[in-house]
Amino acid sequence: SSAMAAVLGRALRPPLRARLRPGPRAPLRSAASAEPLYDVVVSGGGMVGSAMAAALGHDIHFHDKKIALLEAGPRKEYGHMPDSYSNRVSSISPGSATLLSSFGAWDHVCSLRLKPFRRMQVWDACSEAMIIFEKDDLDDMGYIVENDVIMSALTKQLDAVADRVEVFYRSRAVGYTWPLPSHSCDTSPWVQIELADGRRLQTKLLIGADGHNSVVRKEAEIKNIEHQYDQSAVVATLHLSEATDNNVAWQRFLPTGPIALLPLSDTASSLVWSTSHEHASELLAMDEESFVDSINSAFWSNINHSDFIDAAGAMFRSAVSLLKPSGTAVRQLPPSVAKVDPESRAMFPLGMGHATEYVQHRVALIGDAAHRVHPLAGQGVNLGFGDIACLAHHLSAAAFNGSDLGSLKHLLKFETERQRHNVSLIAATDVLKRLYSTRLAPLVLLRTWGLQATNALPPVKVRISLDWGL
């Protein structure tokens, strides 16, 4: 009866044993062994991994802890920003800016360069439908920052806590050994990491920030739902025909994919054009003039309009303006492009992915290792920064409670919070991507009316803004 009681009692709570991955056995060790033991090891030194290590390194409750950051590439010196802009930029939400300033990195970004924007105009190539995001107060809606600028700021802040955070450059992890469930006392309870050069580390918590092809995720045997889109993104640095305030982010949904112009300065903008692989290759191959023409045409041409859709759209718009006079937005005109920076054109394939679990005993995934989205929502790195804010919060509380940092108890809280936030956003982004990939009239009408309605309804717009961290 006591056994039955035990079963009944434990059946009421979700079994955690499934998360205690068996995996290859940890070697038999009787006491603290020679390999250095870290409290946290972050695998992956990109924007998200570096920010995670910096956030923990600057946390007061981690003052006496040992953190390691593993980065496969070499240390980059960001001493002097080149005059030309880098073609890899990110749209940073105010929430992400808050995280970066919590450990002093945002000040560095501001002292380097960034472009705040006040407004986003999103519209359809197949109709006149448009939605404008704008903040009522005079606050910035977001910031366009080059990835190199962010990395420079993060590297500075990592250097500032070098006594706590050890960065291993040119270090790739080639093997992970997972511990058995902690009640078995004979083997090492820590995660063992083997580096390519043969060095070994041990850690109480391994954070996987190693991108959408995460090795940590694969080795932990966490299932990943993934899908390669038939699209690649073309990026480039563009120069505008004339100087302007340039504080609007523009995105137009073409049938082949969305094209976005993100402001970098009064005279320059960054291009992110998601389109088919073939078209992307063509864009890269064509001469600069034709490239510029394609961009301008993509933003200005009405070739995809059909009379039917235009009429239906206009009708809907009048209906909306009867019911809600302020509900139709004033259309601004996007800037036209004059030149493209030579050598700045590049392309990379797009896909979506979502890990079914973000955590396991002594393991947590953040950033693209946990979730990968289409750039159309400008969310990618913001989701990663959101993961960091949440995980750092839980780890800080755990450290202040003297808890074992690798314990599933607080890791699961992180997972629940973030999955709740991320799943709907990732799904919505995926739906939007598919919805806007067609010329079919019914779907165009649906999204036209949907976009116009959303534009007219403040509560829905506010909700979207909040979810996207705008």
Partner: protein, 289 residues
Amino acid sequence: QLSLFRLTVKRPFSTSHSSVDAKEMKKFQLLAHKWWDEEGEFSALHSMNDIRVPFIRDTLLSMSSNYHRGSPLSGVKILDVGCGGGLLSEPLGRLGASVTGIDPLEDNIRTAERHKSFDPVLAKRIQYKSNSLEEIVEESMETFDVIVASEVVEHVPDLETFIKCCSQVLKPEGSLFITTINKTQLSYVLGIVVAEKIMGIVPEGTHEWEKFVPPEELEHILESSGFSVKTVNGMLYNPLSGSWSWVESTSLNYAVHAVKSGARGQSGPTGTSSETDVQQRSGTAGTAG
């Protein structure tokens, strides 16, 4: 009047004046290697750390003026009586304290030693000894800043002896933290029948209702041993979520914080309690029914 009467009715099983009961030891012997299974027999004790560690930490922080960044209990010498497998010793050690964990059961100490051995920081900060409290009194007079006796006093045969020993090894103005179970009808139904026999939250036979300690009795013994009781707080376990929370009522589980009087040496009835009442969530069980 009533409480005095209750005190004269001695616990039926104890004829000795020691702080350790052989029968109790046997019960824990069988479970000695299961301490560190967070989801196993001791899961409720693991999750109790979520409230008892902050309770101890915040109480001590509010009484001291030094704060070492990242190590809130740095410099504090703690005695963990009845440490078992070290479930409470380890978090206290991680917060910077020097912890001595004692438990009369050798197997428990062995489990605790083994578990801490993998972490070099903890291995240095925590010392385990297979001893009863009485056995270490002579060599540890007024040695410790803090004593924690969590889920222990409901297992000792003679509570007065136990408290007296605590007083002897504690420095003047040192803190004593106790968590235990009240002796009420509710604690019989929920604490024994449901927790042990029906839901298996606690291994069957762990507790004997006769030995549960009402807070009034505990307070009385503490006050007459030279302690000033600062805080008494009810605790409640939610078996569905597996978590503990603080509650008004002390009818089931409760926690006590008491401070040894500043006068050196002997214990005697204390005068008025100190004005430095530190807790936001304070309440004394003596006033409630």
